[in-house]
Symmetry: C2
Subunit: 132 residues, 2 copies
């Protein structure tokens, strides 16, 4: 778990998206990549953050590679009319374990970073800052 | 100011360090690079963040290049005993203006990111989250 040993600055975007994707896939009992992207872009919009298609699909790819989620092809629509093949992602049993671990570690990471950013606000904008 | 137009995720480390360095240089009416590094590493330690020598000096270099700070050589110690040449950084007049602009923009950026991280806590750990 060296990616969590963070002598670093802010959370990694990949880890942040994994947090959301694992929990969404679990909650919805599966979902489509494009729907996740649309949902996340909508949710984060007021915070000035727009996850890219590339970043989202790289995250789904890592989750699949790590055995946390599996991909299944589904067919939507009617033959001869509008048949569409889509990929549905769902949580594996191993994914359930990985989700619990990731949730625990990301909670620490998120709180660490919120603390650091709040410190920057206090240090640089607080009322007790000495004026030069 | 395109670096502040952030469709991005988290604050940039360089911008974060600039915030601290500009305000510290102003407050202390100048300072040494190594002292800034020691101070910042000490302040951020409990938040699991350790700015590197490289990152700090790259930030000072950018501030110098942008005309916000100037570098002056000073001699410490006594001739024949322990003469040491050090670089002291101090704020220029232009730096005072850049500091005010950077402070305003970073306040928005810090608050944006604190909001996003708090949202991640609410969305993934809040009590009202639906269980699958």
């Amino acid at each position: 778990m060296s990616k969590y040993e963070n002598r670093g600055f802010m959370p990694k975007q990949r880890a942040f998206l994994k947090l959301y994707l694992l929990n969404k896939i679990k909650e919805k009992k599966g979902g489509y990549g494009s729907q996740f992207l649309t949902d996340l872009q909508k949710e984060f919009k007021q915070y000035g953050y727009s996850p890219t298609h590339t970043e989202l699909y790289k995250t789904l790819h890592e989750l699949t590679r790590d055995g946390a989620v599996k991909r299944e092809k589904r067919l939507l629509g009617e033959p001869g009319v509008n048949f569409q093949e889509i990929i549905v992602y769902s949580l594996t049993d191993e994914g359930q374990e990985q989700l619990e671990i990731h949730n625990k570690l990301m909670k620490v990471e998120l709180e660490r970073c919120i603390g650091l950013l709040n410190k920057a606000i206090r240090d640089n904008y607080g009322p007790i800052k000495k004026k030069a």
